[in-house]
Amino acid sequence: MIRVADLQRSIDFYSKIMGMKLLSTFDQPKDKFTLAFMGFGDGIDSSTIELTYNYGVSEYDLGNGYGHVAIEVEDCQKTIEGIRARGGNIAFEPTPLAELDEIIAFVTDPDGYRIELVQMSADTKASLDEK
């Protein structure tokens, strides 16, 4: 769960730019918050991102403890080009990581949270499968 300052802006980002679906929302006017669950799958067999909007809170302190959420992609460069074309903010261009045999890039969401895109090599995937 991450807290966001503008729920519609975040839903638009995670759906239109990142390609997730809005799975459910839960509005609690009495307690002045709304939850929105976003994900690539249905949220039962797959993980989701929970966005919390607290009515009227327009700013949060991101701190430096929490890092990022990572998303697996088939083709990091192609995905980044798509995100850029749709108006997403690229924080770190696709870069091969020799020690992990991966290509990674970073995008920032509207609140400044970082999202890592990871393209794993077939060898890496095979080695992770064995474990």
Binding site: M1, S46, E50, N64, G65, A70, V73, G82, L128
Partner: protein, 137 residues
Amino acid sequence: MRNITMRRILHTMKRVTNIEKSVDFYTQILGMKVLRTLDQPEDKYSLTFLGYGDETSTTVLELTYNYGVTEYEQGNAYGHFAIGVIDLQKMVEEIESKGIVFALKPTQLKGSNETIAFLADPDGYQIELIERPNAWF
């Protein structure tokens, strides 16, 4: 515009101040396995991936340890990550028997069939445990 090729959430990363303590917590208290570690002494950090299954099929946790960093600012933006469990009450009792105090004891959410509880990890990151009787597993 169906050229979106992203597929799934791989992991979530947080920085920790004592990697042994964190690994002990996530393995012994929450029952995860260490999936892989990557130590980079030249760049003074190590990564540890923990989870309940392998990384190719489940979302896992990445802990970053930066050598010598003993404190992080938590801020107030990041909330928590959540773990689905089968029997929340039983799991909470087991964890409590290991000396862990829950920030929120098992509580049924109003208008929902979910029961939730919260505990904190050694760095104070909140973890939610969720039981949804008819939806999962």
